[in-house]
């Protein structure tokens, strides 16, 4: 029974992962009611650099709408799709360990920071603040923020202590912002249920402007401690209309894990009868 329950929870927990292709199609369908593509060019700074400053969002009903009901402010269709969804290429020990988790173990269910790249796919907006020397990303979800100093050599400080969001450093490659992230703890999940990693995690992110409304986000995830090869994931970030990031105090009223625990115990009892 326990095995069945674990199996069920694995399937259920898998819904936390973002199926990128599905998300793209959903956006496209939701956008059928949208206006023509936005003719605005991508903004540029005084020195000609592309300017990513502004509010961006990877998904969620506020920009995608509900099944059969368009969002309040429909966006033009995204002209690009995210990288194809890949299974995380785990080493044997990590694949075995992944199966031991339930949804109750998900750090974000306790309102803990999601880490990178998971935070980028959250269905809430984030704000990019670009300056000549650094890029700041403020996330509505989980009160997260990242400071990304710009450095041609992508050099991290020498005194890093492992953290939930890691240490970021970036550089421009043409119009694409490339961000190197390392210095992670081993407490976050990469994507779906039990998607663990070690402190050797290293993420290379690329934020590529496609048009005024659209950034293509790609992350190459390396972890010689748990993966057999690099894992590529990503999403399409849209510029939501008339949206600013606002407060999200996740721990305020969070009884869900208690409910899930009770539901699991009841299902277990039902299985023993």
């Amino acid at each position: 029974m326990t095995r069945h329950l674990t199996g069920l929870l694995l399937i259920l927990g898998g819904t936390l992962a973002i199926p990128a292709a599905a998300q793209y199609q959903r956006e496209t369908l939701a956008s059928t009611a949208a206006k023509a593509p936005n003719p605005n060019p991508m903004p540029r700074t005084a020195d000609g650099r592309v300017d990513l400053s502004g509010t961006w969002q990877a998904g969620g009903v506020s920009i995608n709408g509900e099944p059969g009901a368009p969002p309040l402010h429909p966006l033009p269709p995204a002209p690009v799709r995210p990288p194809a969804r890949e299974r995380i290429p785990y080493q044997d020990w990590a694949a075995a360990r992944q199966k031991t988790f339930t949804v109750l173990d998900d750090p974000t269910s306790k309102c803990l920071l999601p880490g990178v790249p998971r935070i980028v796919g959250m269905p809430m907006p984030m704000e990019i603040v670009q300056t000549p020397k650094e890029v700041i990303i403020l996330y509505e979800s989980f009160r997260a923020w990242r400071r990304i100093p710009l450095d041609e050599n992508l050099k991290h400080p020498d005194d890093l202590t492992p953290t939930w969001m890691g240490d970021s450093v970036g550089r421009w490659e043409g119009d694409t912002l490339v961000v190197d992230v390392t210095g992670f703890n081993d407490k976050t999940w990469l994507s779906g249920l039990g998607s663990i990693h070690t402190e050797k995690l290293h993420v290379l992110e690329r934020y590529k402007p496609i048009n005024y409304d659209t950034l293509l986000y790609e992350a190459t995830v390396e972890d010689p401690g748990s993966l057999t090869k690099p894992w590529v994931t990503g999403s399409v970030l849209r510029r939501p209309i008339d949206v600013r990031i606002e407060e999200y105090e996740c721990i305020e009223n969070n009884p869900d894990n208690e409910h899930i625990q009770k539901a699991m115990e009841q299902q277990k009892r039902a299985g023993q009868k």
Partner: protein, 129 residues
């Protein structure tokens, strides 16, 4: 054209079922996304809180017994961005809501849609999966 539209809706519903609906926890582990119930009751309390809102309804059965139901909904910011302002919920108003019942056996549900006395409908939370 009609068939295309129906196909698009069908695909949309299918995809909606696999796209994560909550930012921070599993919907399916907590609620039975296949069982949509309808509750008619009076709003007794509103928690405009994160990570989810809760609307409490006093629901009277045929014998006159009143049961309190708690319906979980999208976070406040999501409701606001989908055109669902906080002040539309008034204590004492009678409303009809649909919800996916909790798996823990309590009078708790994941709210889906709420219909107000004047016929206005708003989505409270995601479609079940």
């Amino acid at each position: 054209m009609r068939i295309q539209l129906l196909a698009a809706v069908a695909i949309f519903v299918l995809l909606a079922a696999v796209v994560p609906v909550w930012a921070h926890h599993s919907f399916a582990a907590e609620y039975d996304g296949k069982e949509l119930i309808t509750l008619k009751g009076v709003i007794s309390k509103v928690e405009w809180t994160n990570p989810h809102t809760y609307i409490y309804l006093d629901v009277k059965d045929a014998s006159g017994k009143v049961t309190s139901w708690a319906l979980e909904g999208y976070p406040p910011n999501t409701l606001k961005r989908t055109g669902f302002p906080r002040d539309i919920l008034k204590i004492g108003d009678e409303v009809t809501a649909t919800a996916y019942k909790s798996r823990d056996g309590s009078n708790t549900g994941a709210g889906r849609e709420i219909t107000f006395a004047d016929g206005t409908k708003k989505f409270l939370g995601p479609v079940g999966n």
